[in-house]
């Protein structure tokens, strides 16, 4: 038997083309006769459009066409609502989705108003600058806490207030729990957020071929099948006439999911209008203004505990800043609401939120997708409760962990996938013990910290736990086929943005059919190769598509064994698949190459008998009833410079449990990258809008994403609690790193600044903000 590759640190199949500049990204598509698009975008956050003058722009040589909303005819319509609200009792939800080009008014800076098509991008941008939009500026809603003020201007005038949604979920009786509590702690907590800032901006290339009546779209999307199905409907084409290709994507992280962005909808339409290939590539400034963000929440939280430190109940009300439109429904705030419960047994929970419209770029999932907001609130509240009770931060967590015997554990509220929030499996204490051990928690607190503090150094330690709901449905599929040359082709519908699918999926197939991992070729994100699926998001690629690939490979293995048992006149159980051949165990001369077997399975004469299928090929689907819950512990040691308030991370430890691990090398990379984004979120990254809704820091010079100097070495360890919910026993890992970093960082910094008595109630922090907090405490004293 070929060595099992599951669980091995296998080098990636996709690397050679990426390392040598041969990989195709969307902007690398260059077609003969291609036209280029640039957009005239709104300079105002909220304004009524009075007139648009394109005459000067149209006169520029090389400009082929200019479109405003009025030119789109029936094609002008608001984008689809991608995720309807979950079936929660009495949920209030107002659908207002983005429009292709602003018609009567603009609702955020960067909203597209006109589209220029020209022979080069340079000319298109020249022309866009010469489009004059006369507007009547309107009062602006920037602060989410003012959005529901009766005097606030209405962003969508057909609504009576700027309310996106109002949702209440509860379990148990919080009031009764509070009445029995020995300690009740309440705080107001604020969590801001930034942008995904994938290194590759968005882009769309569309080519309508009039002669074949076929549209090909290269799109930086995480969900090509959904985009293909949606575009064909919008354009009045059959789905078979549209091929969407998500080629190599330079980072997704959520905002590239399946948004039906204005540009994504317009570029294919223009290609059909002009019978020419058309390209639009977003620049970095546009990416800051008009790729979705993930942003502010303000929570008013209360935790009720017994004097022993057991959580009796938790109450939370929060506001969620949704931005100007809401194409992705309630996924982000529902994630916050649900993930708040964390690793803990919380008998009574009352959670209420209101999501509001503001005049800012709209909010959709970005790595963590609101989960980190919930984790921040629970973890900070536990820290404050621990202080009141005289417990250590790890004692209070340990006391409240859901015990291993309690799984599957039903939290009795509804999750983003519409299913009850049930944790499939978990075992939290071993991870805690490992993390305490790795970071040498007790020794740091007992010896190192007092010694350094005595020297005037501000050092602190933080430790938090988290869960991550991953691997949600509805389904993914895959087709596995042995080719006559012995290579194995696999196609799946999800897109790939660096997660290593070309390798981890290949491992799953290689283990079933007994070939080298390098001989398995994965195709992702091309709807002509596979046209069923949902997409890559919610840490679901490995869990859902991976299990589909595994199932299809199992079926191919069965076909191989069946055919080979006839050819070799041996029972299937006496056969082995190894090194690309099938042979009778212990009979060396009996081998048949898989490729030869594939040829025999597809004969030119004779008959493929009823009940048989040609070829060694199978398609399978995996549709989990609900997601699977990964978990972990993050711990870090920081030092704050007393002069500059710069924070240096001295050590960062993570113990992670995502069930069985397909490829630990890839998993480590996912965790490192998530933590790097979490560190950015905690201390460096913040999207700043001024009172007029102007984006003030829309460049990499002003919006700081962490470099190699800010991200420390990360020490990763694992606990493996297999999921009982899928055959591979795996759980998702994509977002894990980014979720608990904020509260861990806040706790460590607060601990470092303990001599000043500062309380950290917000993320992101910054040197300036820490200085303000310390100064405020000094003045109080």
């Amino acid at each position: 038997m070929t060595t099992r590759t599951f669980g091995q640190r296998i080098r990636r199949n996709e690397d050679p083309v990426l390392l040598t500049g041969q990989a195709l990204f969307t902007d690398d598509v260059n077609l003969p006769g291609m036209l280029h698009v640039a957009f005239k975008r709104s300079d105002y956050a909220h304004a009524r459009i009075l007139s648009i003058d394109t005459s000067l722009a149209a006169a520029i040589e090389g400009v082929v066409a200019i479109y405003t909303a009025a030119d789109l005819g029936d094609y002008w319509r608001p984008g689809p609502l991608l995720v309807s609200p979950p079936p929660i009792k009495d949920v209030v939800f107002n659908t207002r989705t983005q429009v292709p080009l602003a018609r009567d008014k603009v609702r955020h800076v960067g909203e597209p108003i006109a589209m220029v098509v020209a022979t080069s991008r340079y000319i298109a941008e020249d022309a866009a600058e010469l489009i004059f939009v006369d507007v009547e500026p309107l009062p602006v809603v920037v602060d989410m806490e003012q959005a529901l003020d009766p005097a606030a201007p209405l962003i969508h005038e057909d609504l009576t207030q700027n309310l996106v949604a109002h949702v209440i979920q509860q379990k148990g009786d919080y009031a009764a729990a509070k009445a029995q509590a020995d300690v009740v702690v309440s705080r107001r907590l604020y969590y801001d957020h930034g942008v995904a800032a994938a290194m590759e901006n968005r882009g769309v290339v569309a080519n309508w071929d009039r002669k074949s009546q076929h549209l090909t779209v290269w799109d930086t999307t995480q969900a090509p099948v959904v985009i293909r199905n949606g575009l064909s409907g919008l354009l009045g084409l059959s789905a078979a006439q549209v091929r969407v290709i998500a080629p190599f994507i330079g980072g997704g992280f959520g905002p590239k999911i399946m948004m039906f962005y204005p540009e994504e909808v317009l570029v294919p339409w223009v290609s059909m209008q002009l019978n020419r290939p058309v390209k639009w590539i977003e620049d970095r400034r546009e990416n800051f203004m008009s790729t979705t963000h993930e942003r502010d929440q303000v929570h008013w939280a209360e935790i009720a505990l017994s004097k022993e430190g057991r959580i009796l109940g938790f109450k939370d009300f929060f506001l969620h800043d949704n931005g100007a439109y809401g194409p992705y429904g309630l996924t982000v705030p529902i994630n916050s609401q649900c993930t708040l419960l964390g690793c803990y047994d919380v008998p009574a929970y009352y959670s209420e939120f209101k999501a509001v419209f503001t005049n800012k770029m709209y909010v959709t999932p970005y790595r963590g997708a609101g989960r980190q907001h919930g984790v921040f609130v629970m973890e900070r509240m536990l820290d404050f409760a621990a202080q009141e009770l005289g417990l250590s931060v790890h004692e209070i967590r340990r006391k409240n962990f859901i015990p291993p015997a309690a799984f599957p554990y039903n939290n009795a509220i509804i999750y983003q996938d519409f299913a009850p929030l049930v944790y499939d499996s978990g075992n939290y204490e071993p991870a805690l013990d490992k993390a305490l051990d790795l970071i040498d928690y007790d020794r740091f607190v007992r010896e190192e910290q007092p010694k350094l503090r005595a020297e005037g150094r501000l050092v602190g330690i933080g430790l938090v736990s988290y869960v991550e709901g991953t691997g949600i449905g509805p389904y993914e599929g895959a087709r596995v086929q042995i080719e006559p040359n012995g290579l194995v082709n696999v196609a799946t519908g999800i897109g790939t943005q660096g997660q290593g699918h070309f390798t981890s999926f290949a491992q799953l197939v290689a283990d079933q059919v007994g070939v080298d991992v390098r001989h398995v070729r994965i195709s992702t994100g091309d709807t002509d190769k596979f046209h069923w699926g949902t997409g890559t998001f919610a840490s679901r690629g490995a869990v859902v598509a991976g299990n589909a690939v595994h199932a299809a490979a199992e079926r191919v293995r069965e076909k191989i064994l069946k055919l080979a048992s006839e050819e070799l006149e041996a029972a299937p159980e006496d056969l082995e698949l190894t090194d690309g051949v099938v042979r009778v165990k212990g009979v060396p001369g009996s081998a048949i190459k898989l490729g030869d077997l594939a040829v025999r399975a597809n004969p030119l004469r004779g008959a493929v008998k009823p009940g048989m299928e040609p070829g060694l090929e199978a398609t399978a689907y995996f549709g989990p009833e609900r997601g699977v819950t990964a978990s972990g512990i993050h711990a870090l040691i920081v030092e704050v410079d007393p002069e500059t308030m710069q924070v240096q991370i001295k050590r960062y430890v993570t113990v992670h449990d995502c069930g069985r691990v397909i490829n630990p090398l890839i998993l480590d990379g996912q965790i490192h990258g998530g933590i790097a984004q979490g560190i950015g979120n905690a201390f460096y990254e913040k999207v700043v809008y001024d009172a007029n809704g102007q984006l003030l820091n829309g460049s990499f010079m002003d919006y700081l994403i962490p470099t190699s100097m800010e991200v420390p070495r990360i020490e990763v360890d694992h606990v493996e609690t297999p999921s009982p919910s899928n055959p591979l026993g795996i759980k998702g890992a994509g977002e894990a790193g980014a979720i608990p970093t904020g509260p861990a960082f806040a706790q460590a910094v607060e601990n470092a600044l303990a001599p000043f008595g500062v309380e950290i109630l917000e993320i992101p922090l910054s040197p300036n903000r820490l200085y303000e907090l310390v100064q405020a405490r000094r003045q109080e004293a």
Binding site: L19, T20, G21, L24, D28, N30, N201, G251, D668
Partner: protein, 157 residues
Amino acid sequence: MSETMMISLTVNGQRYQRQVEPRLLLSDFLRHELDLTGTHVGCEHGVCGACTILVDGVAVRSCLMFAVQADGCELLTVEGLAPGPEQLHPLQAAFRQAHALQCGFCTPGFLMTLAPWLAQHPNPTDEEIRLALSGNLCRCTGYQHIVEAVKMAAEIC
């Protein structure tokens, strides 16, 4: 904007002559005029480093140069880094070995920044490597595996 200039330059050992607009960025020239799309554009304001190439042996950001400024220069892009087809430069091999790339979009810029640097710093410490990397942004890896790859490459070189 129809005024153009004739430039001639060498890219990856091949000589090119082209008539270009003076305002054409070198990054766009490489990508769209020469179809050398391995050089990636991440920010077009000189911060992310994805578009880094070698101009006369020195790492520069091709989004901060006009094509006409490269007239008469010798350029190396990621397509020309490996010694031959089906082969990898030691840095490329080490990046693969250490899993130093995920989406791979920023990778050409890292490779082209590090190739000349490594030649001048054959035995770098972790700290020196991190400093050398700090002008290039990566959003996927958290840099740790890149640091490991550079150490690995230093041993191979």
